[in-house]
């Protein structure tokens, strides 16, 4: 697919916003202003951006504890995300969610969770309800390569495939479940292959090409929306640049060599999409994104913490 200049500029803006927000989180983290475990999306932003750009604003996403990219790509409020990380009452969940449980109902970000695999059945149930109500929306469920080991994933696929629910599963395969490599864990050669055995239409993306993934997503989401027949699973290979949780690199830890990361660093979609723009466009977008990021962090810094009464609120509707 050859993107138009407008599409390229929009993609770069969104990708860069995620990248720079995450980098700023990592930079601030040692000041202890963010007292929440942060599982950063650096290196994996393009997966969320490609899928969410292909979705409608009224479509729904569910994610994992590593959902900053998904949240922003789907249209989640940046100020509210940073404030949430700071634990401030102006955060997307009044400071009570932290990084691992982001929410933005208005943007269709219907939930994330710190327990692996727990949002996968939620996504299937949401789509089941949409089909019962004959509504047009599609649910996209983001999960990692480790989550496919959870029983809930198999249970969700079985139910979804048994009813041909038009839900889109996105497996972000960064080859590691925390520090444990897939080769020592899985018997199958690809996650897409075993999902196909469950009755999913599947595609596997191996080279990190942003526009290829986005095109495939546009086509598949259109098919899901019009035929109401699924499920579909995309296995998208990608690479997590930083440690599993926290702001630092950990190539020195020994479980993954920097040489393994290098090809992924070299083909970074954020950089590539930026390079496809005219220089003055790229520089303008960079300036505008910096201003947005600075504004969001200033908002978080200036916001108050939740008052003591908030400990007792929101337990029951």
């Amino acid at each position: 697919m050859t993107p138009t200049p407008t599409q390229s500029e929009l993609a770069f803006r969104n990708l860069l916003r995620i990248r720079r927000a995450e980098e700023e989180v990592a930079r601030i983290y040692p000041t202890d202003k963010i007292k929440s475990p942060v599982h950063l999306s650096i290196g994996q932003e393009s997966v969320s951006q490609a899928i969410c750009d292909a979705l409608e604003p009224s479509d729904i996403v569910f994610g994992t504890y590593r959902s900053h990219a998904m949240y922003l790509a789907k249209g989640g409020d940046l100020r509210k995300m940073i404030a949430e990380l700071y634990g401030k009452v102006t955060g997307c969940a009044k400071g009570k969610a932290g990084s691992m449980h982001l929410i933005d109902v208005a943007a269709g970000v219907m939930g994330t969770s710190a327990v692996v695999g727990t949002t996968v059945p939620l996504a299937v149930g949401y789509q089941h309800a949409l089909e019962m109500q004959e509504k047009p929306e599609i649910v996209a469920c983001f999960l990692g390569d480790g989550a496919v080991e959870e029983g809930a994933f198999h249970e969700s696929l079985t139910f979804a495939a048994g009813r041909q629910l038009p839900v889109l599963f996105i497996v972000e395969n960064n080859f590691y479940a925390i520090h444990s490599g897939l080769k020592t864990r899985h018997p199958w050669k690809s996650i897409a292959d075993f999902a196909a055995a469950y009755g999913c239409r599947t595609q596997r993306f191996e080279d990190g090409d942003y526009w290829k993934l986005r095109s495939a997503a546009v086509e598949e989401i259109h098919r899901l929306r019009t035929t109401r027949k699924g499920p579909v699973l995309f296995e998208v290979c990608c690479y997590r640049w930083l440690e599993h949780v926290g702001p630092n690199e950990d190539y020195g830890a020994g479980y993954r060599p920097r040489t393994e990361a290098e090809p992924w660093l070299a083909c970074d979609p954020v950089t590539r999409v930026g390079e496809s723009l005219a220089a003055e466009v790229r520089e303008r977008v960079k300036r505008e994104v910096e201003a947005e990021i600075a504004d969001a962090f200033a908002f978080a810094e200036a916001s108050p913490f939740p008052p003591a009464e908030e400990l007792y609120t929101d337990l029951f509707a």
Binding site: V105, T118, L122, H128, A129, T158, F159, F316
Partner: protein, 348 residues
């Protein structure tokens, strides 16, 4: 009010009336649409409302609970039925980590209007894994309502309230209570959470009975009247929130509290009730207390051991007698099998 129906029929009627009133309500669970209809509690719903509104599920208790939660987020009002409370253990991940927590951890942005029905099994060799009473596990967890009615009137009204409530409700039933008969108005009505019910009045001892233990406690009360002891028998109805005031008012009068629960003692509902009444009456009224529960062993299958495993009217009455006349006093009325236990010849 002269219409008498069974507890099971009362549950079915509540479900049917709510499904008729609100087309967001739907029922899912293993066997909810088969010819047995969860002992009649879901019979006919799939035929009347169609398979979208009442459908079977795959053998995936954790996944299906998540699916029900997802459907609730999308605006529907699911009733997830577990034919045995033991199977809720598989669902506990979603119930405790997700349903109970989502509204809080998302700062009030979502609500989870989910009813989870489950049935505690008993008798005819149901055994270790088809008989567990785990309501205290869910009482322990903030973010869940837990209710456990023992009379048909409360079964219908409380299930109606649970379906209309916007929060996750663990609706606990007992297999031996499903056949109990009682007066139930034909029209739709609600019973509020957090209100205990007096089943009998007396000033000598307070007996709090949960689920089937409420039924057996009434029989124990009859035994006790023959030896001149009059008991308040209270069904808590709602376990979380718990109506401590009603129970404490009774104990303040009688000075003696016996809690009967067909589950285990350690960290059980009986422990929680006694602790809460103790806190409430601290410095106001000292009282004697005892809990009569199943022993801390695994539920056996042979009938003679089953009979030893469960509290019964004779043992409940004997325990109450000891509270009144002192720990050395021994009196036990003749044991009579509960009719509902006698009638039940399995298989399930």
């Amino acid at each position: 009010m002269d219409r008498v129906i069974t507890f099971a029929e009362a549950l079915r009627e509540a479900t049917d009336q709510e499904m008729g009133r609100d087309d967001r309500v739907f029922v899912l669970g293993q066997g909810v649409d088969d010819h047995k209809g969860i002992w009649g509690t879901t019979r006919g719903l799939a035929e009347k409302y169609g398979p979208k509104r009442c459908h079977d599920t795959t053998l995936s208790e954790d996944g299906i609970t998540g699916i029900a939660i997802g459907a609730a987020l999308a605006g529907l009002r699911p009733i997830h039925v577990h034919i045995r409370m033991d199977f809720m253990i598989l669902a506990a991940n979603q119930i405790v980590n997700m349903a109970a927590k989502m509204r809080s951890m998302f700062g009030g942005a979502v609500k989870v209007p989910l009813v989870i029905r489950s049935v505690i099994g008993r008798s005819w060799g149901q055994g270790a894994q088809h008989s567990q009473a785990l309501h205290s596990w869910f009482m322990h967890t903030p973010g869940l309502r837990v209710v456990a009615p023992s009379v048909p009137y409360d079964a219908k009204g409380l299930l109606t309230t649970a379906i209309r409530d916007d929060n996750p409700v663990v609706f606990v039933e007992h297999r031996m209570v499903h056949t109990q008969k009682g007066h139930v108005p034909p029209e739709s009505y609600t019973v509020p959470f957090g209100k205990a019910r007096y089943l009998a009045h007396g000033n000598d001892v307070t007996i709090v009975g949960i689920l089937h233990a409420a039924v057996e406690s009434l029989r124990a009360r009859d035994c006790l009247t023959k030896v001149g002891i009059a008991a308040d028998v209270i069904d808590p109805v709602s376990l979380s929130p718990l109506d401590v005031e009603t129970i404490a008012e009774s104990v303040a009068r009688t000075g003696r509290l016996l809690v009967a629960d067909m589950g285990w003692a350690a960290c059980g509902a009986s422990a929680e009730i006694i602790a809460r009444v103790g806190e409430r009456l601290q410095g106001e009224k000292a009282f004697m207390f005892h809990r009569i529960t199943c022993p801390a062993v695994v539920c056996p299958t042979p009938k003679n051991l089953e009979n030893l495993f469960y509290p019964n009217p004779a043992t409940i009455a004997a325990a109450a007698y000891k509270l009144v006349h002192g720990p050395k006093a021994t009196w036990t009325p003749d044991h009579v099998d509960a009719p509902e236990v006698l009638e039940f010849k399995g298989p399930f």
